[in-house]
Amino acid sequence: MAARANNIWVVWLTFALALLLSVSSMPKFMELGRPLWLALFLTYWVLALPHRVGMTTAWAIGLLADVLNGTLLGQNALILTLITFLVLTLHQRLRMFPMWQQSTVLLVVFGLAQLVQLWLNALTGSRPPTLAFVLPALVSALLWPWVCTLLRGLHQRLGVN
C-alpha cells in the first residue's frame, strides 16, 4: 500500500534530519569542516525527483535553516536556491556521471555556494579570516557517495516518486 502513494513525506523527513544534523553538537576541531547536510540531501532529491523538489522547496528549507542558525533571513535560502539551480541545469548530465565525477562537480557547486556565503557574511560584518570556508565543501563532496547510496536505498525501498 505504501508503494501506491507517492510517499513525499520521506523527503521532508530527510530534510528534517538534515536540519537536525546541521546544528547537532560536534567536537570543536570538526566544526570547521561541518558537512553541508542540507545541500547534500537537497542535491540528491533534486537529482532523483526533479519534478517534485525544486527551487521553491530549497528556498523554504533555506528559510528554516536561517531561523535555526540565526543568520539573516534569506541568506541560506539564497544559497540553497543557487545550489538547486546549478544542480537542476546540470542534472541530465550529472545522472550519467560515475560517482567520483559527480563528487567533483559537486565540489565545484558547493565551493561556489560557500563563496557566496562568505560574501554575504562579509556584508554583515562577521568575516572568517581564512581559506577554511572551502573545507565544508570538500568534506561534503567526499561524503556525497555515501549520502547518495543511503538515500537511494531509502528512495527505492519506500517507493518515493
Binding site: 536540519l19 570543536k28 533555506g62 531561523v67 539573516l72 539564497l78 539551480f85
Partner: protein, 307 residues
Amino acid sequence: MRLLVFTVLSAALMVVDARFILLQPLRAQLGLIVEPVYWVGRLPVRVWESATQELSTRNELAAENEKLKAEQLMMQRRLQKLAALTEQNVRLRELLNSAALVDDEVLATELIGIDPNPFTHRILIDKGEKDGVVLGQPVLDARGLMGQVVEVMPYTSRVLLLTDTTHSIPVQVNRNGLRAIASGTGNPERLELRHVADTADIKEGDLLVSSGLGQRFPAGYPVAMVSEVIHDSGQPFAIVRAVPTATLNRSRYMLLVFTDPRTPEERATESAQAQEALDREILQQAQPAQPAVDAPVAPANPPEAAQ
C-alpha cells in the same frame, strides 16, 4: 527565471531583516521550532552525560561531595567578609553622596546549543521572552561576564559572546580605574584592548572589570585578566591582550542579569523620597513621647532605600 525571483526575494528579505525590525515578530514565531531541534540535536550529549552520572561510583560521588562542601565553606567565608564590606561600601558612598550600588537580580539559565558556524561565537540559552528576557541583557557565568542577548525567541534566546569579532565592551582596570574598550578577536581565549596609550598604567595580571559606560552591562563585574602588554615603538598604541575570566566555551549554567532600568538620578530621587517618608514616620512616632527632639538629618542615599 525562477532563480531570479528567489534571488530577488532573498535579497529583499536580507535587507529588510538587517535594516528594519519589521520581521522580528515573524522571526520570533519561527523561533518556536528552534528549541525542539536543538533539544534533539543535543540528545546524544545529554544521554552521554546522564549515563556517566549513572555509572559513576559511590566513591567518586563522595569525593565530589567533599570537594563541593569545601568549596562552599570557602564561599561562605568570603560571604561573611562581603557582608561587612558591603555595609562599609554603602556607608562610604553615603558620605560621598553618590548613588549606591544596587544588587542586581539574576535568573539562572542553561546552555542548549552552540552556533554551528565556527567563526561566530554565539550560544543558545533556554530562557526567552516568556521568562522576561530582553534584547541586550547581560549574561554571566560564575567567573565573569559572558556576553549579551542578541535575539529573543519565545522560549529561547541567542547570546553573543564577548569574544565574537563583532563584540566590544567598555572596561576598567580594577587596580586604578583606567578605562578601555575590550574587543573580541574570534579566539575564545582572547580579548584585545583597543587604543591604549603606550604610557598607560596597565600591566600583566591586571583584572579588567566592566565599567558600565556603554549603559548595556552593569558596572563592576569581572571581564578579563590582562595576559600580555606589548610596547612596540612602531605602533601608535600599546598592544594589550587579555583572557576572559568567564569560561566562555565550557560553562553550561549561566545567569541572566536584570539591571535596574532607572537612571542613577531617578534612583537617587526615589531613594531620597523613601527616606523622607521614613523620617516623617519616625518623627510622628517620636513626637508624642519627646516633642522637643530634632528630626534626624536625612542623608541623600540611606542604606535602607539602597537595598
